[in-house]
Amino acid sequence: MAAGPMKMRASVNGGVTDIRVLMTHPMETGQRKDQDGKLVPMHFIQNVTVKLNGKTVVESQISQGVSRNPVFSFRVKGGARGDKVEVSWVDNQGESNRTETAIA
């Protein structure tokens, strides 16, 4: 399975913005064998960055220990309806993806 699209939702409630993001990614550990008994090479997201209106708010490093098709929730103080949230990732094979949404 190759890396695929992302989905994100952001909403502000009581002065705190809730961000929920889903990434489509196999997150291969390098320990799983395919049907022919060959090890599937490691393939996993290493960096996830969250930006609010262009400013980095969360910088994360993750491993193959995160589940397949990772889902994250983050919370940021402040943010208003219409503000821009952007999430991007980079994996160990140099693939990357990003998505952005306006706070609802």
Binding site: T29, Q31, E59, S60, Q64, V66, R75
Partner: protein
């Protein structure tokens, strides 16, 4: 040619001035560690003080080790980062989150667990490290995929 040389020199200079930028990319040493103590050493969290202000919300029993929801919050003032380790996984360090510019020290993430293990959370605040753990019993391991 001169322009190329200037670009190369500038790039080298930037790399020398910002060695942390390279380190921050992905902590190979810590993520490659095969035991929890080694991973803790890799993130500089040896001798972390136990804290009840780190809240770990995990299921007591996980039927499927491939997807174990972990929700963590630090109530320690000035928490700058949170790290998650699954002690008995082949590579215990699962994630490290750095919070800045108003981000709350909270995160929810799904992790893989090969077997019943402690989930260990390290919070970094004011240059000190704090730790809390919670055990999750795993019925079916999830490290094969």
């Amino acid at each position: 040619m001169d322009r190329l040389r200037r670009t190369v020199v500038a790039a080298l200079g930037a790399a020398l001035l910002k060695p942390w930028a390279v380190l921050a990319a992905w902590n190979k040493e810590a993520f490659g560690a095969k035991t929890a103590p080694e991973a803790l050493k890799g993130i500089g969290a040896v001798g972390a003080a136990p804290s009840k202000d780190i809240v770990i919300d995990v299921p007591q029993i996980a039927e499927n080790g491939a997807v174990v929801p972990v929700e963590i919050t630090s109530n320690i003032p000035g928490t700058k980062s949170l790290s998650v380790l699954v002690d008995k996984n082949p590579f215990p360090l699962v994630a490290k989150f750095d919070f800045m510019e108003g981000a709350l020290p909270f995160v929810k993430v799904n992790v893989k667990m090969g077997e019943t293990s402690d989930v260990r959370v390290i919070a970094e605040a004011g240059g000190k490290h704090y730790v809390a753990t919670k055990e999750v019993k795993v019925t079916i391991g999830g490290c094969g995929g």
